[in-house]
């Protein structure tokens, strides 16, 4: 038993090392800035999906307003830069505004869970979208706000796509590590407890509301960080980023990959970004495909790709492990 565990641990360690090496060396073996930029997109959308997964996967609270939170941080960055503030101030203000909006979202939507939570976050997300769209004196409405230049921390200018990729990679790795530690911490266990048995957790003396509230804040932090990366990547923000389709897109990343797993949102983000990039070269109808994939995933693979493949893998391994004893038993019987 222990051997098996250490074997899978070793396997995991090797897989992790390979993944890290692959990610770090990516700019050397892909040709062209285009693919490096796709890589950066995957990384910051993965951070976004990891943030949403805290709520969807570990807290059991499905939010359809996260694009609003993602967008408000992006808007805050763009607005501060437009007003002539420096990058540090802009990013700090964006983080504070992102977290404060998440706190407000949480206070309102945590009055219910399940379907009520979806409805309220959806309505709140649409309100932020409406604000971005109509509050023209601040957001310039449909025209959006352009951002000039990217910051240059420690002298590395992020205007260079490769440097931007590495900056995204560092933030991505930090985010993955944070989620990894979070999930294994007593707090993470308590959060999953409130997901599975809220009443029992309450009876055991846990403050269910508070635990969910902190989980929201953590999710909001990752969302805000990814929003800031996004606005620096595209150098532009418009109301479209806050639309319900964007909230659904990131939810699709979480659900398709596998909610409640560390790897799921990363796989999902890769899948969605790659499909979106590849498909938009051929057809305009991305939303139709998005909707169709959504329906197909929910009906056919509700557990997500990562848990689905793990189940399949275990099934194969078990069959292979179960196969050898069978002939041995027959040879014993024959003499």
């Amino acid at each position: 038993m222990i051997e098996i565990f250490s074997a899978t641990n070793k396997l995991r360690f090797i897989a992790l090392a390979i993944a890290l090496v692959a990610l770090i060396s990516l700019p050397f073996w892909v040709s062209g800035i285009y693919y490096i930029n796709v890589g950066s997109q995957i990384l910051f959308f993965a951070v976004f999906a990891l943030g949403l997964n805290i709520l969807v996967g570990y807290a059991g609270l499905v939010s359809l307003g996260h694009a609003g939170l993602f967008g408000i941080s992006a808007y805050a960055t763009a607005y501060m830069l437009q007003q002539g503030f420096g990058h540090t101030t802009a990013v700090a203000v964006a983080l504070v505004i992102g977290l404060a909006s998440m706190a407000l979202f949480a206070v309102l939507s945590l009055r219910s869970s399940g379907i009520g939570f979806i409805m309220i976050t959806l309505a709140l997300g649409q309100i932020l979208w409406g604000l971005a769209y109509r509050w023209i004196s601040v957001t310039d409405g449909d025209n959006g706000i352009p951002v000039r230049g990217r910051p240059a921390p420690f002298g590395y200018s992020l205007t260079d796509p490769v440097n931007f990729y590495y900056a995204s990679l560092i933030i991505f790795i930090v985010a993955v590590a944070m989620v990894f530690i979070f999930v294994r911490s007593p707090f993470g266990a308590a959060l999953m407890g409130t997901r599975d048995q809220p009443r029992r957790m309450n009876a055991l003396g846990y403050h269910v509301w508070m635990i969910r509230f902190y989980a929201c804040l953590f999710s909001g932090l990752l969302t805000a960080v990814s929003g800031i990366l996004f606005v620096y990547y595209t150098n532009f923000i418009s109301p479209q980023t806050l639309a319900l389709t964007s909230s659904a897109e990131v939810l699709l990343m979480v659900i398709s990959g596998g909610p409640g797993t560390l790897l799921g949102p990363i796989v999902g983000a890769t899948l969605v970004v790659v499909i979106k990039t590849v498909v938009s070269g051929f057809i305009e109808r991305w939303n139709f495909l998005l909707g169709a994939i959504f329906v197909a995933i929910v009906i056919l693979v509700p557990e997500g790709i990562v848990p689905g493949s793990i189940r399949l893998w275990r099934l194969i391994v078990r069959k292979r492990a179960a196969a050898p004893p069978a002939p041995a038993a027959t040879t014993e019987r024959t003499p």
Partner: protein
């Protein structure tokens, strides 16, 4: 003075439209326990189908009211199909059902964009209702008054249906306690299809009669869906009276907000929702917190 009267009439008109949209939404929510996120799309689809028949886009032209009935029936049938063949695949899994309706709404939006293009479609007001009524010093567009009248008639008809008929009694039983309703022999899952089709038809009807005042454009679905959600959050799920009061309230706040604070109109809508969520989370007339 005139400004305020016109604004009030517009608010009530918009409230009436919202009621047509939100009453079905609320019933579906009350019975099936899911917010039907295709509701905005059904509204838009009704508006597009009805509008094209009125202006004769696909080769045949029809009277406005006949077109309205045709579009409502088509969309009601579509609603029944969605319920029967997609939502029925996921019995009891409300989260998955909500996500399926979300996916369908994107497909519908893109479908409309593909068929009708990105330019807004304007639908003429039906014959005989293009004029104005003068009452005292104020002038009212006849068509807006007609919408109010239609909304009131539909509200009374729905109330009669729910309160006075056997089907209505079964629906009410299903809203209150689906398990108990099943035990006493009501086929609740069949009610799901009926209510879903009814709600879809009402949404489409609202879409087409709203066409002349809102015009029909891509993104109409995403403009209307949050308003229906707000009405249900404020009024309470599954309550007809709740949808009525909620619709009128949202209609007033939306129109007055747009006239007085155009930049923050969407944001002002947030206030009644905030108050209701803090003071009465089940909604003004709701029975249980969703």
């Amino acid at each position: 003075m005139n400004f305020w009267i016109v604004l009030t009439v517009n608010s009530v008109t918009f409230g009436g439209l919202l009621f047509l949209l939100a009453s079905g939404f609320s019933l579906i929510f009350g019975l099936m326990r899911i917010p039907n996120l295709t509701h905005g799309s059904l509204f838009m689809l009704g508006a597009y189908i009805g509008g094209s028949v009125v202006i004769g886009l696909f080769g045949f032209k029809m009277n406005f009211w006949l077109a309205a009935v045709l579009a409502s029936l088509t969309v009601a049938a579509l609603g029944a199909l969605i319920e029967r063949f997609l939502l029925r695949q996921l019995p009891g899994d409300q989260l998955a059902q909500v996500l399926v309706t979300l996916g369908i709404s994107f497909m519908a939006a893109d479908f409309c964009l593909m068929v009708w293009g990105g330019d807004p479609m304007s639908v003429a007001t039906p014959q005989g209702l293009g004029g104005f009524a003068r009452v005292g010093g104020a002038v009212f567009p006849l068509y807006r008054l007609a919408i109010i009248a239609i909304a009131v008639v539909v509200a009374i008809a729905l109330w009669m249906l729910l309160d006075r008929t056997r089907l209505g009694a079964m629906i009410r039983a299903g809203v209150d306690d689906p398990d108990m309703a099943r035990v006493v022999g009501i086929r609740v899952s069949q009610l799901f299809t009926i209510v879903f089709a009814l709600g879809a038809g009402l949404a489409a009807f609202a879409g087409i009669i709203g066409g002349p005042i809102l015009s029909v454009y891509p993104g109409l679905d995403q403009d209307m869906l949050p308003l229906a959600l707000l009405v249900v959050i404020i009024g309470g799920a599954g309550s007809l009276l709740g949808s009525f009061v909620g619709s009128i309230l949202v209609g007033f706040i939306y129109n007055f907000g747009q006239a007085l604070l155009p930049e923050l109109a969407y944001f002002v809508l947030f206030l009644p929702m905030l108050l209701v969520l803090l003071l009465r989370p089940q909604g003004l007339f709701g029975r249980h917190v969703p």
